[in-house]
Symmetry: C2
Subunit: 215 residues, 2 copies
């Protein structure tokens, strides 16, 4: 059974998944790299940046699940590019010629464009449809594997609120960002549909894993 | 050296320390008892309610520190009573004739009244002064012991923002309350002055302990 999963969504204590002031120079706004330092210290994160020598404990094991068994991704317009990317016909995402997805990726935007085929199996498709419809399309493209909701928090929140997420992995980082894009708004009581596991690790982060409860 | 401490301040994932709709019937608003269930399961919490048989693990050990070495408490008007208590000359707090404080307690309110002496050593004093001034008065009354900021989140936030808190213990409960009184507003970057320890326990809560860093 194909599931819908969110992984490694990193939030501050006050629930922000990105800072204020996203731009091409500052993709995470004033948060900088603070929300993902835990991940870049792991083997998974180090390899993603083309290096090696990262940690191989629980943070790494959990981070790694991001890429296991995923057949397609859905992401929001603000993850795909900085404000204004829709006005740049040459924008193909942050990730260079060979993006780390290697699957179809569905970018939700009110200004869709033609698909872009990248090296390594990533194809960006652009959709202007509600979450449930996007999920049907992405699941169809996933070839029986799971669909990942890649974020940001706005898009993740839409899918959680619509009851479409089966597995949600959040990483809470002990900083107070104060401003930016907050995950929790509109999600009152969302825990009731899930089994919740909470585990802190020596890096100082807390892994919150929500698994949809069998009905 | 007398310190200023906050203990057992329980917040939801989205940072609310009380729900919406505080009243005499619902002191915590729509949150009900959900924020403090972890504490009522401990020996400390059970004894507070006049029972026994609670858990004696890490949750209990940490909860118990609430009462160790405290010489006075400062609390906000909304912890002392439900909205409108200032209009009731007979209101003496939620806690009956023998409140669990057994020290001087300073209630911050814009409508102060004469002190109230209760059984068991608790005396309620009412102050309409800024946080730093209240702390001088409370410290003076603490006889060399520490001062506890008893909450709610509004008052705790004022003291944290003013840089007056030496030890902050938060307990994050894995529920999304959606509305109420939020702790984090106005506290951007507050972690920078503290060493932060994050520990989850089998009850599902996460203990966040902020200890002021030596300068
Ligand atoms: N903390 C983390 O782990 C993490 C993970 C991923 C990303 N991020 C960061 O988060 C930020 C982006 O997140 P975000 O929350 O600001 O935005 P986002 O979720 O990436 O994108 C939101 C935008 O997507 C479009 N959209 C969403 N659903 C749609 C639908 N059904 N139909 C049409 N368009 C739809 C809308 O854009 P338009 O109306 O403009 O088309 C909407 O404003 C970036 O800074 C990124 O680096 C952080
Ligand atoms: N989650 C927890 O662990 C926890 C702990 C304690 C309490 N609580 C709950 O939290 C709620 C109360 O918290 P709250 O954040 O709503 O309010 P609060 O912090 O108890 O009280 C805030 C009020 O105190 C007065 N005040 C604060 N500082 C003042 C100053 N310097 N000078 C004069 N007056 C001042 C003001 O009231 P006026 O202007 O009206 O005088 C202000 O509106 C209750 O539901 C309580 O049960 C929860």
């Amino acid at each position: 059974m194909s599931r819908t999963r969110i992984h490694n969504l990193s939030i501050s204590l006050d629930g922000f998944a990105a800072g204020e002031g996203q731009s091409e120079e500052t993709p995470m706004g004033h948060a900088g790299q603070r929300l993902h330092r835990w991940m870049f210290a792991t083997d998974f994160g180090t390899r993603m940046m083309g290096g090696d020598g990262g940690s191989t404990g629980v943070d790494d094991a959990v981070a790694h699940r991001h890429e296991l068994g995923i057949g397609s991704e859905i992401m929001g317009a603000n993850k795909f590019g900085p404000p204004g990317w829709q006005d740049d016909p040459d924008w193909t995402g942050w990730w260079g010629d060979n993006p780390p997805f290697h699957t179809p990726v569905f970018v939700l935007t009110h200004r869709p464009r033609a698909p872009i085929e990248m090296a390594g199996g990533t194809v960006f498709h652009f959709l202007d449809v509600p979450p449930a419809e996007a999920l049907v399309v992405a699941r169809d493209a996933a070839g029986g594997l799971d669909v990942r909701i890649g974020g940001g928090a706005t898009t993740a929140g839409y899918f959680i609120a619509a009851g479409l997420v089966d597995h949600l992995h959040l990483v809470q980082v002990p900083i107070v960002l104060g401003r930016g894009v907050r995950l929790w708004d509109g999600l009152e009581g969302m825990e009731s549909g899930y089994d919740v596991e909470v585990v802190s690790t020596p890096s100082g982060v807390t892994h919150l894993t929500f698994t949809r409860r069998a009905e």
